[in-house]
Each structure stands twice: as C-alpha cells, then as structure tokens.
Subunit: 519 residues, 2 copies
C-alpha cells in the first residue's frame, strides 16, 4: 500500500505540473472567398435575403457556443490576408498586396492604361530562417506556426496555403513551422474539387494539383471532405501530451464550383441557377466540415480546451462569368465584392468559441486579419522573445472573453490595395486604400484621386458619401491613413504617363478642398 501512496503522490504531482503549463488547442478555420452573408447565420442586426438561401447549421451551432464578431474584416484578396494572419503585419507593411502567382517573379496585376501597380512583394512571404540577401520582392518574417511550434504546439496545415510562388521557401507549409502539411502549396485554388479528377487540373499542368489525398479517391470524396478527414486523422494520431494548432484553411468556397452531389439538388429545387446551386453546395460542404471538426472535439472531450476561430479571407466573389446575375450585386446590401475596399470585398463572417468565451455572445468590435496573429499567440500563452517583423495586429482575446465590454472606437484598421486585380474598370475594384475608425470609414480611390467617407453604423451599404459634409472627419481620417501608410512604408501605384507615384490621401483632401485636381 505504501508503494501505492507514493505512486499516487507522484501521479498527482505530474497532473499538477501539467495544469500549470496548460495550453489550449487552437483551430483557425479559414474559408476561401466566403462572403459575409453566404451562410444561414446573420452577421447583421437582421437576416438578409442571402442568409435565407444558404444552409450552414454548424456555423449556427458554433455561434451558439461562442461569440460572433459582426464587424470582422479581411483584406480584399487572399494572399494579403494569409500573410497578415501568419505575420501579424498589416498589408501596407508586408507589401504582399495582391495574390501571388504559382510562378515566381511573376506579378499578377492586369495591365492598365493609366496606373502602374505598386512595386509589391510578388514573391510572397519568406519564413525568417530562409532569409537571404538574394531574395527580392518578398517579405521576411517569423511565421505564426513556427512560434507556436517552438512554444510546444503540434502544428498542422490542412488545405490551401498560398503564401508564396512555387519553388520559393514560403510555398511549403513545413517551412513555415507546420509539422504537417496536408495539401498546401503555392496554388491559390484547387485544380478540381473532384476525386474523379484526382483533385488536379490536368496531367500536363499540375501546378494546381492538391497532393497527398490520393487515398480518398476510391471513395470519390469531394476535396473539402477529404481534407477534413485527413485533418481529423492527423489529430487522431497526434501526441496528446502536446497542444495542437490546426490551420484548417479550406479551398472551398473558391472557384472552380465543381458540383458536390451531396448538397447540390436541394438548391436547384429551391430555384437557384446551376452556378449558384453549385456555389451553395460548396458552402454547405464547408459547413459540414466545421460540424465534423466540432463533433470530433466533443467526442474526444477536447471542446472545452479548444479555441475555434472561424472566418474568411476576403469578401464574396461578385464577378461576371463566375457568379450568376448582375455582377457586383452578389453581396448586397454590401457594396461590390472580392477585390474591392467597399464592405462587400472585406467584411467577412467571424465566430469564435473556446475557453472563457460566453455562449451566444456578440461583439461589434471591428477586427482585421493581422489581429489573429497576436490573438492566437495570447491564447497560446506564447511570447516569442524575438520576432523579425514589426507586428501591427492587436489581440482581441479580451473582447472574446468579455473582458473588454465596449467597442474600442479609437482602434484603426487600414487597407491598401495598390494593384489591378482584374480587367474590370470600375471604381471600387482594385486601386484603393482605406481606413476605419469607430463607425467611420474613408476610402481613397487611387485612379479617381477621390476620397469617400461613410458612417457604417447608419449606412452599411455605403450609399451616402459624406466626405463633402463631414469635412473635419474626412481630414482627420485622410491624415491618419496617410500617416499609417507612410509609417508602414506602403508601396504606391504610379502614373504611367509621368512615372510619378500618386498623391497621398491627405494631399487629395487638401487639393479637393482648394478646388484643384492633380493627375
């Protein structure tokens, strides 16, 4: 019996010491190209027409278990958001202002007749340990998974990476500090979501192939399902003495809208076009994945110790050709969509659940991509001694845990998109910078050389430009935006005609208020 007592003592001492250093598991569930209303869960003060179309019961379940952030933002396109998530740097600072090509040294901007895009970091993110003087057009930083890994986390990448072009160190999630990479590469979308196409485009050009999931082909699993199964399989085989960080970054709901036959027909029956039914099915498949992950956590008693952060990397796609209906209307009442700094391009769903987050709670605190870096490090209690980059993100963990009750209306978020995303020549798509502080948002349109000011609490649709009325607010935000852009060494577009970089937003303010125009 004496032996037993000693054993007990040792055992409890062990439990105790583990409790002291307990770190929660963290799941960042990132959806690709999902709009703010592309779900049955309303992120506004009322359900919208779009909310009535989609079926996402698991998002609803997660919201019931945690907190919705109704003013969550991303960047306007994917790689900028992903680099911000991984580095905590604002897009103006990291300079990966547009999506990166699968090929290195190849900017992705469409040709324009008026502006030359900024000299941006089109070679994407380079993890610190691969730093070399020879690399150009790249931002070097200490990535989130590496910090978590060094803090004792088992780090899993599942799905889309898209941090840098093929062949560069940032293309490989294992170089970012992920212990495991499931299907991530330089590709910004899958060749195909279909097992019957081997999750790849064709045999000649396999740049967009999703690799390592071949074992799910005989079961004919849709890519979203295959990634989820493999992620759960990896969790199931992990060392449970370590906390885990799962970056479940779905290729869904980006194009190609391959038909997911599990969910498609009901949307056709509901009267949607073929394209929109495919899109809605892609959304529902993503939601099922969320449900499967939640179920796995519950079944294994992990849900209490695990944070789930759910969000998207930019607003919903609203381009002609890809979506049905009139272009740029797919996110109404939000204006425009992916590629724009109007709300349609940057406002995204956001739900968080986990330790000390009150079930069924809601916050209007506005947050943005780089804030996740700092938030996750705080959740993990991981304070890296040295991080190569200047971190712009602010932790919103106090918001999630109810320690910060009121909206911090002094917080500023800036966006910067000095690129030409696509061939649409429409004010709002591409070529802009913006700032939000409190309820106010100022947008600087690079090509038009104009400023617009909106009060989002009253005008989420951005219909009433108040820049000519709220002069003081316009001036203040133009100055603040200018200051932030300069502070972060933001690269600016230039005029093709003169080669000169465009004016700063505060200069635009001064000029428009003295009735001058510069070009």
């Amino acid at each position: 019996m004496k032996k037993g007592l000693i054993f007990l003592f040792v055992f409890f001492a062990f439990i105790e010491s583990r409790a002291q250093v307990k770190q929660p598991n963290i799941i960042l569930f990132l959806v690709d190209d999902m709009g703010w209303q592309d779900c049955s869960l309303p992120f506004w003060d009322k359900p919208t027409k779009l909310n009535a179309i989609y079926h996402t019961p698991n998002m609803q379940k997660l919201a019931a278990k945690g907190m919705m952030l109704t003013n969550a933002y991303s960047n306007a396109v994917c790689t900028p958001t992903r680099v911000s998530l991984m580095t905590g740097m604002n897009v103006a600072r990291h300079g990966v202002t547009n999506w990166t090509n699968v090929n290195s040294n190849t900017p992705t901007d469409f040709k324009d007749s008026i502006l030359k895009p900024a000299n941006w970091n089109y070679n994407g993110l380079t993890p610190e340990r691969f730093y070399s003087e020879a690399l150009n057009h790249t931002v070097v930083a200490t990535p989130l998974p590496q910090i978590l890994n060094e803090a004792g986390y088992y780090t899993i990448h599942a799905g889309k990476a898209h941090f840098a072009p093929t062949g560069l160190p940032g293309a490989s999630p294992v170089n970012m500090g992920f212990d495991i990479n499931i299907g991530g590469s330089a590709a910004g979308h899958p060749g195909s979501f279909l097992a019957s196409k081997n999750y790849r485009q064709n045999e000649k050009d396999t740049s967009w192939a999703v690799r390592g999931l071949e074992k799910y082909i005989p079961e004919d699993l849709y890519l979203t399902e295959a990634i989820t199964r493999e992620a759960i399989h990896t969790l199931d085989n992990r060392n449970s003495n370590k906390p885990f960080f799962l970056y479940l970054s779905h290729y869904a709901v980006h194009v190609p809208y391959d038909k997911d036959i599990r969910f498609y027909q009901q949307y056709i029956d509901a009267g949607l076009t073929d394209t929109e039914a495919k899109y809605a099915a892609l959304v529902e498949g993503m939601d099922k994945s969320l449900g499967d992950i939640m179920h796995y956590l519950e079944k294994n008693g992990l849900d209490k110790d695990t944070y789930i952060l759910f969000t998207s990397d930019n607003g919903g796609l609203s381009l002609k050709g890809s979506r049905s209906g009139e272009p740029h209307t797919q996110n109404l009442p939000l204006k425009q969509g992916k590629g724009s700094l109007y709300e349609g391009g940057i406002r995204v769903p956001m739900i968080a659940a986990g330790p000390q987050i009150k079930p069924g709670s809601v916050s209007k605190q506005y947050i943005v991509s780089e804030d996740y870096f700092t938030t996750i490090l705080q959740m993990a209690n991981a304070n890296p001694k040295k991080v190569k980059q200047v971190v712009d993100g602010k932790s919103f963990l106090p918001v999630l845990q109810g320690k910060q009750k009121n909206v911090d209306a002094q917080k500023t978020i800036i966006w910067h998109y000095p690129n030409n995303w696509t061939n649409v020549n429409l004010k709002g798509i591409s070529w802009a910078s913006a700032i939000r502080q409190g309820d106010w948002k100022l947008i600087y349109f690079h090509k038009q050389q104009t400023l617009e000011l909106y009060n989002l609490s009253k005008d989420i649709a951005e219909q009433q430009d108040l820049s000519g009325i709220e002069i003081a607010k316009t001036k203040l935000l133009a100055q603040l935006l200018t200051q932030k852009l300069k502070e972060r060494n933001a690269a600016m577009p230039s005029w093709l005609s003169t080669g000169q970089t465009i004016a700063w937003p505060n200069e635009i303010f001064e000029l428009s208020n003295t009735n001058q125009v510069i070009k």
Copy 2:
C-alpha cells in the same frame, strides 16, 4: 482516500488492458544499393578487405543487441524488392521484375539484340483500394502498411518509395496505408543529396526532387540527416498510445555520390579514390542515421519494445563509371553486383533486434524480401482477415527469437529477373532465374540457355559450377525452379528472332543432358 483507491484500481485496470493488446513498435531500416560487405561488420565467417574500409559502428552496436542473419537476400534491383516487402509476394508472382520508371507506361529495359524482355508489370504496385479494371501492367495487392494501419499502427514512410510511376496510385505512400509520407515518390534516387541543391536535380525536371524537407535547407543538412531528423520529429509528435511502424527507407547509398563533408576526408586520407571516399561517406552517414534512431529509442525508453530490422534492397553497385576500379569486382569475393543473380547482386546485410531476440546471436537461415511481410505481421500480431494477393513470404520471427534453432534446409527461395537492366552484355547481369535450397543454388541464364550449380557453403564466390557433376541435384533444382515459376505465373523473355518464349529451366536440363541445344 477512498477516491484515491478507486482511482488506483481504475488506473491499474487500464494498464492491464493495455498490456493485453500490447503491440511492439517496428522499424524497417532499408538501405538502398548497399552491398553485403559495405560496412565494418562482417556478415561472413571472417572479416573481409571491404569490411576494413567502411566505418559503421552503429551497425555493430545493433548486431551486439540482436541477431545477424548472414544469409539474407533481396532481389537484384530495387523496385522488385520493395514490392515484395510491401506485399509478401515473390518477384515471379508480383511481376514487377525490374525497377519502375518515373513515367508511367514506360518499361525501363535496355534494348537487346537477342531477347525481348518479359511482359512485366512496369506500372508497379497498385494498392488494393485503387483496383480498377483499367490499370494494366500493374500488380494489385493489399500493402503491408495498410494492414498495420488497420491493426492500430501509426505508419510512417520516410525516404525512398519507388513502388510505381508518377501519377499512379502506388506512387504515393499515403495510398499504401502510410499515415505520413516523408520524401517518398516515384523516384528511385534523389536528384541530389545536397541541401544546397534543394535535394533536387534541376529546376526544369524535378521528377527526382525530394520534397517536404525544405526546412532543413538553411542548416545545409545532407539528405540522409534531413530524413532522419524528420522521422524522429514525427516519432516525437506521435500519439504514444499507438504502436508505430517506421519504414525508414534511405535514399543512401544509391547514386549520386554527392560529397558528405562530415565523413569524406578520412576516406581520402585512408587512400580511397574520390568516388570511393564519397561512397564510404554515404555509407557512414547512413550508419549515423541508424545510431540516431537507436539513441532516440533508448532516450525515450522505447528500445525494449521496438523491433529494428536492418537490410538493403539489392547487392552493391559494381558498374563501370559509377564505381572506381575494375567493374564487377566491387563485391569480391562475391561475384558481380546489383543486377545479377550471382551472390554479389542479391546477398545483403541483415540485422534484427527487439523483443526476445538474443543479443549477439547469429543465424545462417537464408531469407528473402517477401519474408519480411509475413514476419512483420507476426511481430505486430496483425492477422488480416483478407489479403488480395497470394503471399509467398514465410515469417522468420521464430529464427530471430531462437525458437527455430537450426537452418531449415528445405526452404526454397527463387529469384526471377527476365529483364535487361543495363547495357552490359555479360553473363550474370540481367536475364536470369535462380533458386536456393539448403546450401545449393542453381542459376538459369536466359540468354546463354545454361544452368550453373553452386554449393554456397563451400564456394560463396561461385567459382565452381557443379552442374555437370551433381546431376541429380541440378535436375531436382531445375524442376523445382520450373515448378515455382509456373505456379507463380512468371513472365518469361522471348527470342526476338522467333517471338517464342524461352525454355523453362527443366527443359534446359533435359536438353543439356541429351546434348541438344535450342535457340
């Protein structure tokens, strides 16, 4: 206190139930192209000149902890051995009789002026679940890792796979039932062992690139070291409630002999040529990997519960150009080398350590590649209900555990190489079938249409052909070889001149003993 007692009871009950189903860990440490004497550990009754050249202290340490098998065999080239390991099928039955190309539908045989190679399975191994009528020139089987995986094992592939060409299901270790794939693909050798070359050949043709190890590039790690570190990293992050199967299948010591500066100079100082010093350094780097794995097991208290099986996939390379010195002499006293059914091509090192294996023991029992499949399943206590293939392998676990004291001299092993490996037109290289029973070995040379008989206990160098003297033994073995080849549906070469398949070995015996010759 009552709670404590209940807790103790529950805890011990748990220990008890785990003990009942306890399965050992298993490591299959496979070296590529390593000859029988390419180490400081003699696998003969005396040390040889070659043994004096190489430094492999960790192989010696492993042998001291376990058993050496001095009559261990493989096939004459790599893929045939690997397919036998994975399926338990003899090479004549699985029909992947030569190494597979990185491209599908592309046999690897050199053109010959006399014989047409057998219609072999040049599309390699297809795991059962990928079975489809459409696949041709492939063998479909239930692979070892899948069976182990289903029996509760965590299965890790590290290093060279080479089971099937690119794009086919067998190319991907995850399709074979491995939970984790570190660096395995369709490639039979690495583009480069050097981090400075990113472990790949060049940027245009990356078919031989070893992927997923980019994080070791900044430290400039040699490929052998990078694979070992990643394998240990994976073990360290595993779920320790599961037993593991680690298939550590080194790219070493295959060409290219890239200089490993950690070990190279001492061999130059000892008077070796540049080529041979590079080769010896490659061997020593592989031995360090073995040592690192053993150290990891010891440090984590796993060595008592873990089997290590160490062997090679074929005999040492002895071709002109690749090795220094006179070709086909690099394995003396063994005749010829890789690609031959003389002992130089098929006799390999073999050490096994683990539960119930007596330290410092030696067995002369002859074994071959397909026997590992059955042995490992017996070690794992995994009895699959259904296996697609007919299994030829016999477990040698009773030998290892000392339960079978004497050599089973009735055991037969057959080899079958109806292919043209390379451009060397020399009897012994390519084009042969062979059988061993007891001390006797009969070789059938397809092109020469002759039989040779050797007594290996007296003549390991195969210098004295006894086929004209030991007529009865020759007849018996020719019949037995014929019977086994027919039973296993062995594909035979054919005469280019007539299109007819070559004769069976028993026909050769009959003809040579009635003084006739057929062509």
